[in-house]
C-alpha cells in the first residue's frame, strides 16, 4: 500500500501532517531539536508573545494533579521584538510552518503585536490567545465574553494579512457562542481548548501550591472536556478547528479528528515525552496504514452520532 496522505491545511497553512505543538509547551522550538525532528511535525506554535517582554508569575508555577498538571507561568515571554530578533532566525531554517501565538494586556496591544508580525517572513500564521486564565488583564475577560472576544478578533484581523487562528477558553458556559462570535469577527480557524482553571492546595502549609493561587489544568484529565467542545463547535461553525487537550497518542489525535478537528496540538505530552509530537504523527500514520485509510482528511468529522 502507498503511504497514506497525512497532509492537511488550516486556513491556507499547508502542513505535512495534522500534529502541531501547543503554545507554551514547546518553548521556541529549538529546546526540542535534540529530541525530535522538527521537520517531522505539522507546525509549531510559539510561546505566547506580548508587546513587551513579560516576567511571568512568581514560583511555584507548576504542580502535578491526577492525570494532569496546573500551570501558572503567567505568560513569561521574551516579547515580540526579541522573538523576531533572537528566535525567529533559527525557526526560519526549519522547514515547518511556525505560528506565532500572541496576546495583549489590552485591546490595543493585541492589535499592535499582530501588526508587528504582519508581513514577517517565517511566520505562517498567528494564533490569538484570548483565553489565558492566569493574567488578570491578559485574557480571561476577552475569552469569556463574546463581545469582547469579537472586538479583539476584529482588531487583530485589521492588523494582519496572515491566517488568523483564535484559541478558545473552555471556562465558559457555552463555547459555541464564543466560537460563533470569533467566526463572525473574522477568525480563519479556531483552536480549542486552552486550560481549565483549577487550584491545588498544600495541606501542610495551608496554602495554595501555586504562588498565583489558581492555574490552568492541562493533560489527559481534560481530554473528555476538550473532545466534547471540539465536537460542539465543529457542528455549529464551519471554520477549520484545531483540537487540543490531553492528546498523548496517535489514537487520541484521531479521536479529535473524528470529532471535527482538521488538526491537533500536542501540549503536556511533550513534557512526558519530548518526542511526543513526532511519535503521535507516526502513530496516526500507522493507524491509517493498518486500516487501509488513504487520507487522514477522510476522518475529519467522520464521527457517526
Amino acid at each position: 500500500m502507498q503511504r497514506p496522505d497525512m497532509s492537511v491545511a488550516i486556513a491556507g497553512i499547508e502542513m505535512r501532517n495534522p500534529v502541531m505543538t501547543a503554545s507554551g509547551t514547546f518553548g521556541y522550538g529549538a529546546e526540542f531539536a535534540d529530541y525530535l525532528d522538527l521537520e517531522s511535525i505539522g507546525a509549531m506554535i510559539t510561546k505566547g508573545l506580548s508587546l513587551k517582554p513579560k516576567a511571568g508569575n512568581p514560583t511555584p508555577r507548576i504542580v502535578e494533579t491526577s492525570g494532569g498538571m496546573l500551570n501558572a507561568i503567567g505568560l513569561q515571554n521574551v516579547g515580540i521584538d526579541a522573538f523576531i530578533e533572537q528566535k525567529l532566525p533559527y525557526l526560519k531554517n526549519v522547514n515547518t510552518p511556525v505560528i506565532a501565538n500572541l496576546y495583549g494586556n489590552t485591546l490595543e496591544e493585541y492589535g499592535e503585536v499582530a501588526s508587528r508580525l504582519d508581513g514577517l517572513a517565517g511566520v505562517a500564521g498567528i494564533e490569538v490567545n484570548i483565553s489565558c486564565p492566569n493574567v488578570k488583564q491578559g485574557g480571561i475577560v476577552f475569552g469569556t465574553d463574546p463581545s469582547a472576544a469579537q472586538e479583539v478578533v476584529s482588531l487583530v484581523k485589521k492588523n494582519t494579512s496572515k491566517p488568523l487562528i483564535v484559541k478558545l477558553s473552555p471556562n465558559v458556559t457555552d463555547v459555541v457562542v464564543m466560537a460563533k462570535a470569533c467566526a463572525d469577527a473574522g477568525a480563519d480557524a479556531l483552536s480549542l481548548i486552552n486550560t481549565l482553571t483549577g487550584m491545588a492546595i498544600d495541606l501542610e502549609r495551608r496554602r495554595p501550591v501555586l504562588a498565583n493561587v489558581t492555574g490552568g489544568l492541562s493533560g489527559p484529565a481534560i481530554k473528555p472536556v476538550a473532545l466534547r467542545m471540539v465536537w460542539q463547535v465543529a457542528k455549529a461553525v464551519s471554520l477549520p478547528i484545531i483540537g487540543i487537550g490531553g492528546i498523548m497518542t496517535g489514537r487520541d489525535a484521531l479521536e479529535f479528528m473524528l470529532a471535527g478537528a482538521t488538526a491537533v496540538q500536542v501540549g503536556t505530552a511533550s513534557f512526558l515525552d519530548p518526542s511526543a509530537a513526532q511519535r503521535i504523527a507516526r502513530e496516526m500514520e500507522e493507524y491509517l496504514v493498518e486500516h487501509g485509510i488513504a487520507s487522514v482528511r477522510s476522518l475529519i468529522g467522520a464521527l457517526e452520532v
Binding site: Y35, G67, F271
Partner: protein, 269 residues
C-alpha cells in the same frame, strides 16, 4: 538524550533512601557532575510528569553475560518522599525506565590546586559523589561536609572516603558526627584558595552562600525546583536571579541555566 534504561540494582541504603543503578548509552560517559536526569517511573499517566534526579555516579562495567562489551551505567541516590519515588523504590533489576539525560549545566570544577569543599545536606549529597570522583581523578584535594537531621540521613560516607575524600559529618541530633548544622562545622575550613560546591535544602544553601560571600570564597549551589519539561521550554522551574525585582524581573531556569549556579547569580533571602 532520551533513552530506555534497564534497572541493574535498586538498594535501600538507609531507611527511605535508595541507590539505583541503570544502564546508559555511551554518550552519558561524557556528562558532567551536577547534571541531572528526568525519569518517568512508569508509562502510565499517574504519576504524570517525569521526576528529576542528580547524577550520583556514572561509570562503566562489564556485564557477566556473553557477547556484550563494556556498558555505561548511571546511578541516582534518592529519598522516598511521594508517589513517584515510592513507585521508583519498587523497581527491580530488569525493569525499564525512560530517561532524559544528561540535562542542565553541571559544576565548574575550577582551577587545579584549590581545595575543593563539598557541602551536602541529606540527599543533597547525590550529585557530590560524581563530582568528588571527577575531582579526585584530577588529583585534587577534596573535603566533604555532610549534614542531616539524624544518622539515617547521612549516606555513603564510606564511598567518599574510599575515593580519598576527607569527610566531616554533622547531625541535628548528634546521632552521627558533630551535633549541629553542617555549616557550623564547615565555617572554620573556609579560606582563600577553597571553592565550595553545595547541594541540599534551600535554608542550608542560603547559609552556605552567605558564608562563602563573607569569606570571599567562590561557591556553586545546585538548586531544586518543580519541573515539567526539564529542557527550558515550559518556564515552570524558574528562580529569581540576583537582580530580580518586581519591576525588572530576572528569572533563571533551574533546568537549563542550572541546576548549578554560582551563588551570586541568585537572590537569597
Amino acid at each position: 538524550m532520551q533513552f530506555k534504561a534497564m534497572v541493574l540494582s535498586n538498594v535501600e541504603l538507609s531507611p527511605g533512601y535508595f541507590r539505583m543503578r541503570m544502564t546508559a548509552p555511551q554518550e552519558l560517559a561524557s556528562s558532567a557532575p551536577g547534571q541531572f536526569l528526568m525519569l518517568k517511573v512508569n508509562d502510565a499517566i499517574d504519576p504524570l510528569l517525569r521526576r528529576p534526579f542528580g547524577l550520583f555516579d556514572v561509570g562503566s562495567f562489564l556485564p557477566e553475560y556473553a557477547g556484550c562489551g563494556a556498558q555505561v551505567y548511571c546511578e541516582i541516590l534518592y529519598k522516598v518522599v511521594g508517589k513517584g519515588t515510592k513507585l521508583l523504590s519498587a523497581l527491580h533489576h530488569g525493569d525499564l525506565v525512560d530517561l532524559l539525560a544528561p540535562l542542565g549545566k553541571g559544576f565548574d570544577l575550577g582551577p587545579a590546586g584549590e581545595e575543593k569543599v563539598l557541602v551536602g545536606g541529606g540527599v543533597g549529597l547525590a550529585p557530590l559523589y560524581y563530582l568528588a570522583k571527577e575531582l579526585k581523578n584530577r588529583g585534587e584535594k577534596v573535603r566533604l561536609f555532610a549534614g542531616g537531621r539524624n544518622r539515617d540521613d547521612i549516606l555513603c560516607i564510606t564511598e567518599f572516603e574510599r575515593l580519598g575524600v576527607e569527610t566531616y559529618v554533622a547531625t541535628d541530633d548528634g546521632t552521627l558526627g558533630e551535633r549541629g548544622f553542617v555549616t557550623q562545622v564547615l565555617e572554620p575550613h573556609l579560606a582563600p584558595g577553597t571553592r565550595i560546591f553545595a547541594c541540599g535544602p534551600t535554608p542550608m544553601l542560603n547559609a552556605v552562600a552567605k558564608m562563602a560571600q563573607k569569606s570571599g570564597v567562590p561557591c556553586q549551589v545546585s538548586m531544586e525546583a518543580y519541573m515539567a519539561c526539564g529542557v527550558g521550554a515550559c518556564l515552570g522551574c524558574v528562580m529569581k536571579g540576583a537582580n530580580h525585582t518586581e519591576e525588572t524581573p530576572d528569572y533563571r531556569c533551574v533546568c537549563k541555566d542550572g541546576p548549578v549556579f554560582d551563588s551570586f547569580e541568585l537572590q537569597w533571602s
